[in-house]
């Protein structure tokens, strides 16, 4: 297997891996490092890649585990919510461009406060537009768990939207 073949199969996944990692580590530089580490690990095991049934799900799981390791090693889990949408980087990100709208910032913040499983399921479904089966394969969860977590996440988001709307209307 050549590097050319690796590029053909893995590089199309890089943005998805990046967004997934970003939803966990919430830092662009660290998410890029995670994608790089994921690619390096995949390249090292490239001779055995044919034994893997679902390469995309495998890669996503690898990125998830590396992201969680990174997060744990820096004890960022709880104290980064405040910084969640002030992303690092030289140039403004697409999010920063649109985050001038307070509500979008609050939505992002609210999503970051969801329990990990709910957040990851919601990310994969609503941002990556993945099917339930793809989410099951990626997170190694039964379909019932995926549905329950998605339902709870959306319910929580709806409550937040209703609350913030009534607060907004009181202010005006």
């Amino acid at each position: 297997m050549s590097l050319k073949e690796f590029n053909k199969q893995i590089l199309p996944l890089k943005q998805k891996l990046f967004r997934f990692s970003l939803s966990i580590v919430r830092d662009r530089t660290e998410a890029e490092d995670v994608v790089q580490e994921t690619c390096i690990k995949l390249w090292r095991q490239w001779s055995r890649i044919s034994e893997i049934d679902n390469l995309e799900a495998w890669s996503m799981r690898l990125a998830k585990n590396l992201s969680i390791d990174k997060l744990r090693s820096k004890h960022q889990r709880t104290d980064r919510i405040e910084q969640a949408y002030h992303l690092k980087g030289d140039s403004p990100t697409p999010y920063q461009v649109t985050a001038s709208n307070d509500t979008l910032g609050h939505i992002r913040q609210m999503m970051n406060q969801l329990p990990e499983k709910q957040r990851l399921v919601m990310h994969l479904r609503d941002i990556e537009e993945m099917s339930y089966q793809e989410i099951c394969d990626t997170l190694q969860l039964p379909i019932s768990q995926v549905k329950v977590n998605l339902f709870r996440a959306r319910k929580q988001m709806r409550t937040f939207l209703i609350k913030s709307e009534s607060y907004g209307s009181q202010r005006h």
Binding site: E32, I40, W43, S47, R48, P94, I127, E129, K147, I162
Partner: protein, 166 residues
Amino acid sequence: MDRKDIEILLDRYFEGLSTLREEAQLRDYFSRENVDPELAPYQNLFRHFQTARKERLSEEFDERLMQQLSQIEPERTRSRRLWPVLARVAAVLLLAVGVWWFYPHPAPATQQAGIDWSKYEPESPEEAYRITRMALRKVSGEIKEGASKAAREMDKFQEVTRYFKN
């Protein structure tokens, strides 16, 4: 799609019942500028999803990654890497067989003499009946003796009780 249709889709969405197609319809509706004011709060949620989907790696990422990968040799296949393990297992087995072969084996213990019960087997049904009857009679005698002994002890006990009452 009118507002009512969107509300139905939104309910399905928040109940976790919507399909990917229905969710695409919602994204499409909320990406417009002229969204019904009543539904405006939900527009931000779908806008957030669309914005998050536009997140991209930096432009230098590919170059940096290729530089790294070109310096790394992928691991060899499992079948090749299994050889050293198999060689080690074979060496251990060979050693174990060698040790067993050269170690002095103790002679097996002599068999203990047993009781030849066949000598005591009754030879005819009549003999078996006679032996059984004898055994039952003996058991019956033992029981009878036990009962009379218990009666004697009871008499003694009653006598002692009478003495204390008086």
